[in-house]
C-alpha cells in the first residue's frame, strides 16, 4: 500500500494530465480516489488541472464520502472557469441534497453555496429551502450559513425566496449550533444591507440569552457580538442582561471573554447605580488580567483593548499595575503596549514602583524599547505634577550612564517637562549641557537648542553653545535649522550684545539667501522684518508666554473613544481607528464573469437610490453594464473594482481608444485629465474621487497612446489631509497600444494623515513596468467624504448650532452663483449627502438649512441664503472643525456651479 499523500506532489513527468485522465476513468475505486488526490495536490501547488473537469466530475457519484469531498473541493475551485461543464454536477448535487445520509445532504448545500456560478445558484434554492427545515441539526446549521453565501451572490433571490424569514425562524431552533449560525448569517446580511433585516427585540434577546448557555464557544461569540448592538430599554433591563452575560467571563476562550466584556461595558452605560457599576468593574478586572496569561498574540489584542477600557474607566485596573510590568521574554510588541498602559495607570500612589521599572527597562538591550521607556518617564513627569521631581532625577541618573541614545531621548522629554513646568527645573540645564557634543539625532539636537534659546538669560555661555552649532548650519536637517534660527533670535532679544548680534546676521543670511527650504526662509524673513521694524514687538511675539502643554496619556478624544469602545473585541479596537478607516467592502474580487450576474447581483457597487440622483455619476457600475447584452461593450469602465479586465482589454483592441463620452446611462461626464499624454510620454491618466455606496473610490481612466504595451501598474498617494490611501492594489490589465481601461480603486481613510492646515491637494504617483514613475496632482472635493448618515434631526440641529461657539461659524459669499430652483439645488446637494432640514423666507431670500457629516463624526451645519434667479449666494457653516471650512466652500462652489 501507498505511504504518504506527499507522493502525489512528486509526479511531474511530461504526460501527467493524460495519465491522470486515464486513472480518473479507471474501473477501480481506489485508483480513482488516488487519482483525484493527485489532481488536488496539483491544484494546491498552483498547476492548472482544469482540463480534467469532466473526468473529475464523473467521480462525484459515489457513496464514498472521502472521495466525494475531494471532488467537491475541486469543483469549488474550477466551476467558475468552466461554468458550462459545472452544470454536469447539478444533478448530483440535487440528488445528494435528498440523500438519506445527513452528512451528504449538508455537504451538497455547503458546496453548492460556494460555487459562484449562476446556473448552479438557480438550482440551489429548492435544496436550500428543504435543508433549512431538515430534521438533522447538522444540515440546518449548514443551510443557515448557506443563506449568507447566497445573499453574497444574489441578495434579491434570498429576499424573494423568503430565506430571510426562514433564517429568522431558525433563531428559535432547539439546537444551539443552528441558532448560532443563524445569528451569524443574519448579522452579516444586516451588515451589508441598508434595510432592517435583523433587529433584536426584547423577545429575541431572551431567546438568544438562553441559547448562549448551551452554545459552543464560537457560537457564544456570534451571539454576544450580535447582542452588543441591542440597546436596553432601561437600567433594569441592562442589569438583567449583564447578569446573564457575566458568567461568560469565566470562559477559557479569550474571544468569549472579550465579547462579554464589550457587552457588559455597553450595558454599563445605562446603569446609574454606582454600586452596581463598581461591582461590575470588580468582576471584569480578573478575567481581563487573565487574558495576559494567554499566548503573546492574544495578549497583544487584550492590551490594545485594555488601553481603551482604562481610558474610559481608569478604576477597573487601578490596583493591577503590576501585571503590566514587562516580562523579560515578552515580544517587543507586547512590551510596547504594556508601557502605554503603565503610563495610563501611573498615579501618585504607585509612581515609585513604576519609575523603578522604567529605570530598569531603560538599561535593557533593545534600543527601541529603551527609548520608549525613557519617554515613558517623561510622560509620567508631565502627567503627575507631584512626581515630576522624582521622574527628573531618574532621567538625570540615566543621562549619567552616558549611553548615547538614552541621553538624546532624555533631552527630548526634558524639553517637554520644561514646557509643562516652566521656571521650575532649570537648575539641571548645566548637566544637560555636558552632553551637548554627543547629540547627533535631529530631534534631540533641536530639543537641546530650544532649551538653550528658551533659557538663554540663565545660561552664562549660551552664545558660545549656540555658536558651536552655527558652523554646521547649512548641513543640519530642517528641524534643527528652524530651532537654531528661533533660538538665536531669542538669544539676541534677551542679550542684545555684540556676539549675538553677529550671530543673528549669520543665521539670517544662512536662512534666507543660502537656503531653498521655504519654511525656513519664511520664518527668517518674519524675524528679520520684526527685528528691523520694531524690536519691542519682536520681543512680544518671540518671547511670549507659551501655552502650557498637558498630559497626553489619554490622547483619544471623547467621541472617538466612545466609538472605539463600542467596537471593543473588533479590529477597530486593535488599530484604534474607526471601522470606516480600514474596512473596504470589496466584495467582488474573483467574479470574473460579470455578464453572468444579471441585475440584482448585489455585488457591492450597484446604485442605491440616493446615488441615482447624482447627475455627475461617473462610469457605470456593475448593475447597469451587466443589464445590457454583451454587445454593449466596449464598456468604458470596469464593472467592478477588481475585475478580470484582460478580456475587456482584448475586446477593445480593435475599437481603438474607448470613447469616454459613450452615450446612454453607462457614462457620465468625462473624468478630468490629470496626466496629459504629452507629459506621460503617451500615457494619459484621468481620474476623480467618487463616492459609491458609502465607500470612496478613485475612478481612473488609463489611455495608452504609446507604441508599446504597458503593464504592472501601481499607484501610491502622498500624505494628505484625510489620509486617503489605496484600499487595495490597482487592478489593471496589460494596456495594449491604442487601448484604454478604467478602474474603480477603493480608497481608505486616515492612513497617512498630513498634519497641518487642511488642504484638498492629493498627490498621486503611478508607475508601470515600462515607463518612469509619473507624479500628478489632484484636488478632491470635500463632499466626496460626506457620509450617508449625515442627516440630522431638526432638534439636534438647533441644539448643536447653539452649543457651538460663534467662533466656529464661518461664512462666504459666492457672488456668481445663481440658484434657479430650490428643488433642484436640494436634489443636487442631497446627492452629495447634504441633507435638507428646514427652510424659511427672509424678505425675498430663501434660507435653507442642511446638515452633512464627514468621517470621524464631524458634523457640518449649513445655512444657505439666496434669492431665486438672482446671482449671489451666501453660505454659512458651523462645525467643530472650522479649519476645514475653506475645503467645504471650495467643494460647495464647484457643486453649485456645475
Amino acid at each position: 500500500m501507498s505511504g504518504h499523500d506527499s507522493k502525489y506532489f512528486s509526479t511531474t513527468k511530461k504526460g501527467e494530465i493524460p495519465e491522470l485522465k486515464e486513472e480518473l476513468n479507471s474501473q477501480y475505486k481506489d485508483k480513482r480516489k488516488d487519482a483525484v488526490k493527485k489532481v488536488i495536490a496539483a491544484m494546491t501547488v498552483g498547476k492548472d488541472v482544469s482540463s480534467l473537469f469532466t473526468d473529475v466530475v464523473n467521480c462525484m457519484q459515489t457513496e464514498n464520502l472521502e472521495l466525494k469531498k475531494l471532488v467537491y473541493l475541486y469543483l469549488i475551485n474550477y466551476a467558475k472557469s468552466q461554468p458550462d461543464l459545472a452544470i454536469l454536477a447539478v444533478n448530483t448535487f440535487v440528488k445528494d441534497s435528498q440523500d438519506p445520509n445527513p452528512l451528504i445532504r449538508a455537504l451538497a448545500v455547503r458546496t453548492m453555496g460556494c460555487i459562484r456560478v449562476d446556473k448552479i445558484t438557480e438550482y440551489l434554492c429548492d435544496p436550500l429551502q428543504r435543508c433549512l427545515k431538515d430534521d438533522d441539526p447538522y444540515v440546518r446549521k449548514t443551510a443557515a450559513i448557506c443563506v449568507a453565501k447566497l445573499y453574497d451572490i444574489n441578495a434579491e433571490l434570498v429576499e424573494d425566496r423568503g430565506f430571510l424569514e426562514a433564517l429568522r425562524d431558525l433563531i428559535s431552533d432547539n439546537n444551539p449550533m443552528v441558532v448560532a449560525n443563524a445569528v451569524a448569517a443574519l448579522a452579516e446580511i444586516q451588515e451589508n444591507s441598508s434595510r432592517p433585516i435583523f433587529e433584536i427585540t426584547s423577545h429575541t434577546l431572551s431567546k438568544l440569552l438562553t441559547a448562549l448557555n448551551e452554545c459552543t464557544e464560537w457560537g457564544q461569540v456570534f451571539i454576544l457580538d450580535a447582542l452588543s448592538k441591542y440597546k436596553a430599554a432601561d437600567a433594569r433591563e441592562a442589569e438583567n442582561i449583564v447578569e446573564r452575560v457575566t458568567p461568560r467571563l469565566q470562559h477559557a476562550n479569550c474571544a468569549v471573554v472579550l465579547s462579554a466584556v464589550k457587552m457588559i461595558l455597553q450595558q454599563m452605560e445605562l446603569i446609574s447605580s454606582t454600586d452596581v457599576v463598581r461591582n461590575l468593574c470588580k468582576k471584569m478586572a480578573p478575567p481581563l488580567v487573565t487574558l495576559l496569561s494567554a499566548e503573546p498574540e492574544i495578549q497583544y489584542v487584550a492590551l490594545r483593548n485594555i488601553n481603551l477600557i482604562v481610558q474610559k474607566r481608569p478604576t477597573i485596573l487601578a490596583h493591577e499595575i503590576k501585571v503590566f510590568f514587562c516580562k523579560y521574554n515578552d515580544p517587543i510588541y507586547v512590551k510596547m503596549e504594556k508601557l502605554e498602559i503603565m503610563i495610563k495607570l501611573a498615579s501618585d500612589r504607585n509612581i515609585d514602583q513604576v519609575l523603578l521599572e522604567f529605570k530598569e527597562y531603560a538599561t535593557e538591550v533593545d534600543v527601541d524599547f529603551v527609548r520608549k521607556a525613557v519617554r515613558a518617564i517623561g510622560r509620567c513627569a508631565i502627567k503627575l505634577e507631584r512626581a515630576a521631581e522624582r521622574c527628573i532625577s531618574v532621567l538625570l541618573e540615566l543621562i549619567k550612564i552616558k549611553v548615547n541614545y538614552v541621553v538624546q531621548e532624555a533631552i527630548i522629554v526634558i524639553k517637554d517637562i520644561f514646557r509643562r513646568y516652566p521656571n521650575t527645573y532649570e537648575s539641571i540645564i548645566a548637566t544637560l549641557c555636558e552632553s551637548l557634543d554627543t547629540l547627533d539625532e535631529p530631534e534631540a539636537k533641536a530639543s537641546m537648542i530650544w532649551i538653550i534659546g528658551e533659557y538663554a538669560e540663565r545660561i552664562d555661555n549660551a552664545d558660545e553653545l549656540l555658536e558651536s552649532f552655527l558652523e554646521s548650519f547649512p548641513e543640519e536637517p530642517a528641524q534643527v535649522q528652524l530651532q537654531l534660527l528661533t533660538a538665536t533670535v531669542k538669544l539676541f532679544l534677551k542679550k542684545p550684545t555684540e556676539g549675538p548680534q553677529q550671530m543673528i546676521q549669520v543665521v539670517l543670511n544662512n536662512a534666507t539667501v543660502e537656503t531653498d527650504n521655504p519654511d525656513l526662509r519664511d520664518r527668517a524673513y518674519i524675524y528679520w522684518r520684526l527685528l528691523s521694524t520694531d524690536p519691542e514687538a519682536a520681543k512680544d511675539v518671540v518671547l511670549a508666554e507659551k501655552p502650557v502643554i498637558s498630559d497626553d496619556s489619554n490622547q483619544l478624544d471623547a467621541s472617538l473613544l466612545d466609538e472605539l469602545l463600542g467596537n471593543i473585541a473588533t479590529l477597530s479596537s486593535v488599530y484604534h481607528k474607526p471601522p470606516e478607516a480600514f474596512v473596504t467592502r470589496v466584495k467582488t474580487a474573483q467574479r470574473t464573469e460579470e455578464e453572468d450576474y444579471v441585475d440584482g447581483s448585489e455585488s457591492g457597487y450597484s446604485e442605491s437610490p440616493a446615488h441615482a440622483l447624482d447627475s455627475s455619476a461617473s462610469p457605470p457600475v456593475a448593475a447597469s453594464s451587466a443589464r445590457q447584452p454583451a454587445a454593449a461593450a466596449p464598456a468604458p469602465a470596469a464593472p467592478a473594482p477588481v475585475p478580470d479586465l484582460l478580456d475587456l482589454g482584448l475586446d477593445n483592441s480593435n475599437s481603438a481608444i474607448v470613447s469616454v463620452d459613450e452615450p446612454g446611462p453607462a457614462s457620465g461626464p468625462p473624468l478630468p485629465v490629470l496626466l496629459p499624454a504629452a507629459t506621460g510620454q503617451g500615457l494619459q491618466i484621468s481620474a476623480q474621487l467618487v463616492r459609491r455606496d458609502g465607500q470612496i473610490f478613485y475612478s481612473m481612466l488609463f489611455e495608452n497612446n504609446t507604441q508599446i504595451p504597458l503593464d504592472g501598474f501601481m499607484i501610491q498617494f502622498n500624505k494628505n489631509t484625510f489620509g486617503l490611501a489605496a484600499g487595495g492594489p490597482l487592478q489593471l490589465p496589460q494596456l495594449l497600444p491604442g487601448t484604454s481601461a478604467s478602474t474603480l480603486l477603493p480608497m481608505v481613510l486616515f492612513q497617512n494623515v498630513l498634519p497641518g492646515a487642511p488642504s484638498s491637494l492629493l498627490q498621486v504617483a503611478v508607475k508601470n513596468n515600462q515607463q518612469p514613475v509619473w507624479y500628478f496632482n489632484d484636488r478632491f472635493s470635500l463632499p466626496v467624504f460626506f457620509t450617508e448618515d449625515g442627516r440630522m434631526e431638526r432638534g439636534t440641529f438647533l441644539e448643536t448650532w447653539k452649543s457651538l461657539p460663534d467662533s466656529n461659524e464661518v461664512s462666504r459669499d459666492f457672488p456668481a452663483i445663481v440658484m434657479n430652483s430650490i428643488e433642484s439645488t436640494l436634489d443636487r446637494l442631497a446627492a452629495s449627502n447634504m441633507f435638507f432640514i428646514a427652510k424659511r423666507k427672509h424678505a425675498n431670500q430663501d434660507v435653507l438649512y442642511l446638515s452633512a457629516k464627514i468621517p470621524r463624526g464631524i458634523p457640518f451645519l449649513i445655512e444657505i441664503t439666496a434669492a431665486i434667479g438672482i446671482p449671489g449666494l451666501k453660505c454659512a457653516i458651523k462645525t467643530p472643525s472650522p479649519e476645514i471650512a475653506p475645503l467645504f466652500f471650495e467643494g460647495i462652489e464647484s457643486l453649485l456651479n456645475s
Partner: protein, 451 residues
C-alpha cells in the same frame, strides 16, 4: 469572519491554503510574508499579530516555527481569529500526532477535510476534535516523531524523566496503533509557568504563576471523569489588592486570583468539595487555567556579585541555589546575562569537578550564557567569569550589565501546591483499568534577577 486561511513555512512556502470567500486576492500569502519578514514600523522590529495592508487585515500566530495566518476585509473579532488559529493548530496536532511541515504535507488531504468542517464561509463551526471525528473520514498518515524537535507544553515531559511514556505525546488521537487497538490511557498534566522578578537586593518584586491543567484522553467511549483538587483551594477574585500581599489567608491554602474552565467541565460540586467532573472530549485541551499572585517560594535563588578589578577588568560571580527537595531535579537550565557593550573577552571558571555544564560568551549581543544539564534540589552552583573591557567602565557596570535571567524545567514539582488528589474514571466493567498519568511540571516564564 475570515476570508482565507493559510499555513506558511519559515521560508514562506505555502503549505496549506484555503480560500473561503474570494474577496481577498490570491497573492495575499506572499504579501503577508514579505511584510512580516521585513517589518519595520513604529520603531518595532517584530510584526504585531494583527495588521492591515491595503485594506486586507492579516492575523498570524507562530506555532512550532510555522505561521498560521488568516485574512479578512471586515471588522471582525481579532481575539476570535487568533484563538481560532491556535485551535486549528491544536486540532491538526490531535489528528496527526505531530505538527510540522512534513506531517502537514503528507496529510494535506486530511487537513483540507478538517478545514472544511472547522470553517464554513469564514465562520467557525467547531474546533472540537471529538465533534470533528464524526465528519472527517481521512485517516492520518503518522510521521516519525523521533528526530523532530519537541513542541508544545506536553513536550516538556519528554526530557529527562523515565517515568513518562514519551510516545504518548506524539500519538494521534484518531489513528490506531500498530496492532489495531488503542491503548486506554489518559494524561492529566499540571503545568505551571512561573514569572519572578528579584530586586538587586534579592527581594521578590513580582511573582506570578500561570497554571493549566491539561488533559489528553485516549479513552474509548468517553467515560465520565472526576478530578479532585486541594480542599483548601480558594478563589479571591478582585477582592484583594496587590498592596496587601499574602496577609488575609492562613498558611498553606492555595489561593487563585482567577481561573477559567473548559466548556465540558461541570462545576456543580466545585464550590462544595473542589471536584471537577467532565466527559473529556478527544484531543488535548485545558481543563482549567488559573493564575496565582500569592507569594510562593521560588525554586531558585540567584546571587550576582560584580567586582571591578582595575580599569579594564571585572569579575562576575554567579551563584544559583536550588531551593527545592533533593528528590527533585531541574533540567535544561540556562542562565543568561547581558554584559556591557565594551566587553571584549570573557574567561570562565567553573567549580572543580563540575559536569554537564557549558559556558559561552555570545559576542554578537554581548551575552554570557551558562548551561546546566541538571540541578539537584538543595545544591548550589557557581560560575566565575573574568571580563575584559575595551574602555573604562566608570563604575557603571551594574547599570550596563544584567539582568540575569533563567530558564528551566522542573518535573514533578509545582510551586503553587495545587494538586490533583484523585482522578476517577467511571468504570465500564471490572476489568476496565486504563492507565492514568498525573504529571506535574514547572517551567520558567520570565525568571529574572536584577543586579
Amino acid at each position: 469572519m475570515i476570508s482565507q486561511f493559510f499555513v506558511l513555512s519559515q521560508r514562506g512556502d505555502n503549505i496549506v491554503f484555503r480560500d473561503y470567500r474570494g474577496d481577498v486576492q490570491k497573492g495575499s500569502a506572499e504579501i503577508f510574508f514579505r511584510k512580516v519578514k521585513f517589518w519595520k514600523e513604529d520603531d518595532e522590529e517584530e510584526a504585531p499579530p494583527v495588521f492591515n495592508v491595503d485594506g486586507v487585515n492579516y492575523f498570524h500566530v507562530k506555532v512550532v516555527g510555522l505561521l498560521f495566518v488568516a485574512t479578512t476585509r471586515t471588522n471582525t473579532s481579532p481575539s476570535l481569529v487568533l484563538e481560532l488559529l491556535q485551535r486549528v493548530a491544536r486540532v491538526i496536532k490531535d489528528y496527526l500526532g505531530v505538527l510540522n511541515e512534513d506531517s502537514l504535507r503528507k496529510n494535506f488531504v486530511l487537513v483540507y477535510e478538517l478545514l472544511d468542517e472547522v470553517i464554513d464561509f469564514g465562520f467557525v463551526q467547531t474546533t472540537s476534535t471529538e465533534v470533528l471525528k464524526s465528519y472527517v473520514f481521512n485517516e492520518p498518515i503518522v510521521v516519525d516523531a523521533g528526530r523532530l524537535p519537541p513542541l508544545g507544553p506536553a513536550s516538556l515531559f519528554m526530557q529527562g524523566t523515565k517515568r513518562m511514556p514519551g510516545t504518548a505525546i506524539t500519538k494521534s488521537v484518531v489513528a490506531n496503533e500498530p496492532g489495531g487497538r488503542k491503548r486506554e490511557e489518559i494524561f492529566v498534566d499540571i503545568i505551571e509557568k512561573i514569572s519572578v522578578t528579584f530586586s538587586s537586593s534579592g527581594y521578590i518584586l513580582t511573582s506570578e504563576i500561570d497554571g493549566t491543567i491539561q488533559m489528553k484522553s485516549y479513552l474509548t467511549g468517553n467515560p465520565e471523569i472526576r478530578l479532585a483538587l486541594n480542599d483548601d483551594l480558594s478563589i479571591e477574585r478582585g477582592g484583594r489588592s496587590i498592596y496587601e500581599y499574602g496577609g488575609s489567608s492562613g498558611a498553606g491554602a492555595v489561593i487563585l486570583d482567577d481561573c477559567n474552565f473548559h466548556e465540558s467541565v461541570h462545576l456543580e460540586s466545585f464550590d462544595v468539595d473542589r471536584t471537577l467532573s467532565l466527559v473529556p472530549p478527544d484531543g488535548e485541551f485545558p481543563v482549567m487555567n488559573y493564575r496565582i499572585t500569592q507569594e510562593f517560594k521560588p525554586p531558585f535563588r540567584i546571587n550576582t556579585l560584580i567586582e571591578e578589578a582595575g580599569q579594564l577588568k571585572a569579575e562576575v560571580i554567579l551563584k544559583i541555589r536550588a531551593e527545592f527537595l533533593s528528590s527533585i531535579t531541574a533540567n535544561t537550565i540556562v542562565v543568561q546575562m547581558p554584559l556591557p557593550k565594551y566587553t571584549t573577552r570573557v574567561s570562565f571558571e567553573l567549580e572543580p569537578g563540575a559536569t554537564g555544564q557549558t559556558t559561552d560568551f555570545k559576542e554578537s549581543n554581548r551575552r554570557l550564557e551558562w548551561n546546566l544539564k541538571k540541578i539537584v534540589g538543595g545544591s548550589e552552583h557557581t560560575l566565575r567569569a573574568k571580563l575584559t573591557f575595551s574602555q573604562e567602565s566608570h563604575g557603571n557596570i551594574t547599570k550596563e550589565a544584567g539582568p540575569v535571567s533563567m530558564t528551566f524545567t522542573i518535573p514533578m514539582y509545582n510551586p503553587s501546591r495545587l494538586q490533583v488528589k484523585y482522578l476517577q474514571i467511571a468504570k465500564k466493567s471490572k476489568t476496565y483499568n486504563p492507565y492514568r498519568w498525573v504529571r506535574y511540571v514547572t517551567q520558567a516564564n520570565s525568571y529574572v534577577a536584577r543586579i
